[in-house]
């Protein structure tokens, strides 16, 4: 029973935005609009981390965000895929030299895919989803 393959058909996403400028948050919602329609792949936004298969992280990790991100990753049921969204998630983006920047998310939790862009275009979001689905189907037991 390949958990990754079963997971790749129906990915429920929990969006965690910590100190984000909200541009990425708008782009996440617009990938679900009729023009790009991610629900045809079984992807849906959920309201609780306990229901999630993918933790989508956007924004800068400050002290509040970093502690809560670690907590969310611990209480999420595994198997879980973590995806960071935007250039803030990849490396800190504009805010790398800021006084309250605790480091990009991959210093706190293991990350499976990065979606680059500031903000990422919907085409880049779909490309990122393809990366995650391919990784779920080939690598055994993604955590």
């Amino acid at each position: 029973m390949d958990k990754g393959k079963i997971l790749s058909r129906s990915i429920w996403v929990f969006h965690f935005a910590s100190a984000a400028c909200n541009n990425c948050d708008i782009e996440i919602i617009d990938a679900l609009t009729p023009r790009f329609d991610l629900e045809r792949f079984g992807i849906k936004l959920v309201g609780s981390i306990r229901h999630a298969d993918c933790l989508l992280v956007s924004g800068i990790m400050n002290e509040k965000g970093a502690t809560r991100l670690k907590f969310l990753y611990d209480i999420a049921p595994k198997p879980l895929a973590v995806v960071t969204f935007g250039s803030c998630g990849a490396s800190g983006g504009l805010f790398t030299n800021s006084y309250n920047f605790y480091g990009p998310p991959d210093k706190i939790i293991p990350v499976d895919a990065y979606i680059p862009g500031c903000p990422p275009r919907p085409e880049a979001i779909i490309d990122g989803i393809v990366k995650v689905v391919k990784k779920l189907r080939t690598v055994r037991c993604v955590m």
Binding site: E39, F41, H51
Partner: protein, 301 residues
């Protein structure tokens, strides 16, 4: 043999598969109304299959046994209702006296299990979801029982097969004035029982992060999802059996699809009500209509 009816057909397995198809119809039609493409045919089954491979997480401050048992009890009771309603459709000899009352009582149990499970979760948002579900149940049960009194009064029987054979002889209950009012009241109460917009107050995702189901994960959430799929099949069939007349195979399926279409269109064209608006709507808006239909049924109209 009883176990076969309860577990395989028309109990748990057959209703689960039918419920998955009904849930796909709901999601595809919703997507089409929003000019989207919508998920593939097996998507509800992929969702349930995925939920059963995740780990179960039990919150630290929860009541462990009630938290774990509630989804299973909900699934067990809805399977019994599925067996009774399905058997009455196939072969009228399988009913028993009073099975209408038994079905309505058993249909209360899934909502009760949601309340119990949410209260046992140890999360303040879940207790908000539980209190909203309690208020919703208090409000729609009154109007539901009032509308159910009309077929009982007209046919002088509380047995599903007697009501169905009465309708085969004398025309459907929804053909008379009292019957059509009661049927419309029952459809709106069914919308609340299925927890669909405009009455999906307990599971308001954007407001209270999943509400009553916030701490449920993995197979326990899977049991609740299967219960929701099965209720989407059982409740319209139950209402059609008592209100809209003889349910032969093709005509019955068309009637069920029409009722499902009404549910989906109601879901897509309405905003969500607040809980006090919903309680006022059921107590002071729908219940008087139920009383009027009872009076009309007593008068023989």
């Amino acid at each position: 043999m009883v176990l076969f009816y309860y577990i395989v057909f028309p109990g748990f397995l057959a209703t689960f598969i039918a419920g998955g198809v009904a849930s796909w119809i709901e999601r595809k039609l919703t997507a089409r109304i929003q000019t989207r493409v919508g998920p593939p045919f097996l998507q509800p089954f992929y969702d349930v299959r995925k939920l059963f491979i995740k780990e179960i997480t039990i919150p630290e401050h929860s009541s462990r046994s009630i938290f774990m048992i509630s989804p299973i009890v909900a699934l067990a009771s809805i399977s019994v209702v599925a067996a009774v309603v399905g058997l009455n459709l196939i072969n009228p000899a399988y009913g028993f006296n009073g099975d209408l009352i038994v079905c309505v009582y058993l249909l209360l149990i899934p909502s009760l299990c949601v309340i119990l499970g949410a209260s046992a979760s140890g999360n303040p948002l879940a207790s908000l979801g539980a209190s909203r579900e309690m208020k919703l149940v208090l409000s729609y049960e009154l109007a539901f029982w009032a509308s159910l009194a009309v077929p009982v009064l007209k046919t002088n029987s509380i047995r599903l097969t007697d009501i169905m054979s009465f309708q085969a002889l004398n025309g459907s209950i929804a053909g008379s004035l009292s019957g059509i009012i009661a049927f419309i009241v029952a459809i709106i109460c069914m919308q609340a029982k299925l927890a669909k917009v405009p009455f999906d107050i307990p599971e308001a995702e954007t407001e209270i992060s999943g509400g009553a189901y916030i701490e449920y994960s993995g197979p326990l959430l899977g049991f609740f999802k299967i219960t929701q799929y099965m209720m989407l099949v059982i409740l319209p069939l139950f209402l059609l059996e008592i209100f809209w007349g003889p349910m032969n195979s093709t005509v019955g399926i068309l009637k069920y699809l029409l009722l499902l279409f009404v549910i989906i269109v109601l879901e897509n064209t309405n905003p969500r009500l607040k809980i006090d608006q919903a309680v006022k709507f059921f107590w002071f808006g729908l219940f008087p209509f139920g009383v009027v239909s009872i009076i009309l049924a007593i008068l023989g109209v």
